[in-house]
Amino acid sequence: MASVRKSRSESLFIRYLILGAWALFCLAPVLWFLSVGLRPRVEIITPRPIYWPTFSLDAWHMIWEDWPMAKYLRNSVLAILGSVLIDLVLAIPAAYSLSRYTYRGRDDIGFYILSTRMMAPAIVAIPIFFLFRNMGLLDTIWALMIIYAAVNLSIVTWIIRSYMLDIPKELEDAARTDGASDMRILWEIIIPAVLPGIITAAVIAMIFAINEFLFTLLIASTPDAYTMSVALANFTGGSDGVIYNAIALVAFLAFVPVFLVVVAIQKHLSRGLTMGAVKG
């Protein structure tokens, strides 16, 4: 009995040791960023090792005062939220149709939607540039909204669809015999039942949109449409050289809200990621 208990506590200890090491490995860059971001610039580029770092808000003041960071932040938030909204408005009815009705070519349409995700974005970069130029949308957050929405639409549709497939058909049949129309069934029965899936899909789309770089760089050419991720790139060039502490601080600030949201919904998130992939 005693030996069983001992080996159990031992294995528990080993488990925590491994998990702790893994967590440290993952978090170290984040902590490093924070530490770099909160130190004066000279201290960062010095070749001698520093054992007791100096705390400084230089970078903090710099990003808000020397750069239009507030504008970048606003652009990011608007473009991302707008794109997620577009995705949900389009994906929910599409997912409903794909999960509930049988019609010719349904599975092909479903696969086509998913396949848009498989393509390397660079392939369509040039056509998209001309497309937005002709529409006069270059360098606007509207273009960013549309492009983020387009990039994420497939994954959002697919995740919501997988949640909808889990809803028993009986539930809709019941609503129909109770006198509900298709729209009311979608609105009052289906959407509330797949709300965790919708939230998951929205968060995943948000994360992808925050990280989106290629298309943003293509479309945004002035601070009018710069987002946080592209603004970061601006700290590397110019007469000031590479401004490491500002880069680190902005990267950290972009990371925090995503991290908090992911922690809040992590239970749903793993399901959303696997279900979208597995359920055929």
């Binding site: 028993p168 009986e170 539930l171 049949d173 019941a174 609503a175 129909r176 015999t177 109770d178 006198g179 509900a180 129309s181 009311r184 009052e188 029965i189 509330p192 039942a193 709300l195």
Partner: protein, 349 residues
Amino acid sequence: MARIELSGIQKRWGNVWGVRDVDIDIGDEEFVVFLGPSGCGKTTTMRMIAGLEEPTEGEIRMDGEVMNEIDARDRDVAMVFQGYALYPNMTIYENIRFPLRMRDVPAGDHDRLIRQAADMTELTEYLDRKPSALSGGQRQRAALARAVVRQPQAFLMDEPLSNLDAKLRQAMRVQIKHIQRELKITTVYVTHDQIEAMTLADRIVIMQSGAIQQIGTPDEIYNDPANTFVAGFIGAPPMNLIKGQVDGGIFTASGITVDGLRSDMSGAVTLGVRPEDCAVTQSDANLTGEVFGVEPTGDLTYLTLKTGDAMIEVKADRSYRRELGVDEQIAFDRERLFLFDAKTGTRLR
């Protein structure tokens, strides 16, 4: 409230048959039970009445009006599903209210109607709960309350009690029948449980492989089965069906002799006799067999006899006890013997 007629109903998906041939006229206020083994087309038939499935052939009429083209939401029927199908995000109160809202019942009447339905199904104290916080029996009653709340033209119930334990099932059976009698609403009820069918129905419709085998009152179905399928489906244990020969009014099979039958037949037949129409005897036996099993249940004893390659079930007296392997003699109640065609299984009258 409504008379429901199904004529020449068939349902096919490609070459998969759901229902081959259903003809029935269900009277106003009648309680009709569709009874049959799993996969025989009961649910499909009910879904066609509800408008959730369109018949491939045939006509469905309610009060004389053809319903085939009418959408489920425009048919005034309420359905209780096998899995209850309660809306998981709504409280029981909102669940019961849903059909009232969808059918534009004036909002001022909702509360009164909901409380009335909840009272009838003894759910008043659970109205604020979500379905997930209810037991199986309570969920079942909530589904029932949602059906009764709007006083539809007809109730459709698809194996509503199959997920409940035996004791609860008996209690709910009584409750369902009581509510139906009180509201006087035409009811179609589907089950694979013959006890449910016998106890609830005004008329039973027995189905097999998508076709109706017999329609009749519980008494007719029990006392006058149309074929071996019906005979074998009703009763617990079911009727003994013994293959043998009849000639000159005498039936013979290994270990079994029955005389005094109709003398105008000869050839292979199946003799049917219910376990409750068999009696242990010392003289004038029809059957001699080896005791294979003795199962006391308290109020009576099930006796299984082996004769030739047939097993015969007998309901014996509650005090009956016997060693396995000894010989026992059985007499049949001659008034209650049934003869069936050996090949087709249809009753020979």
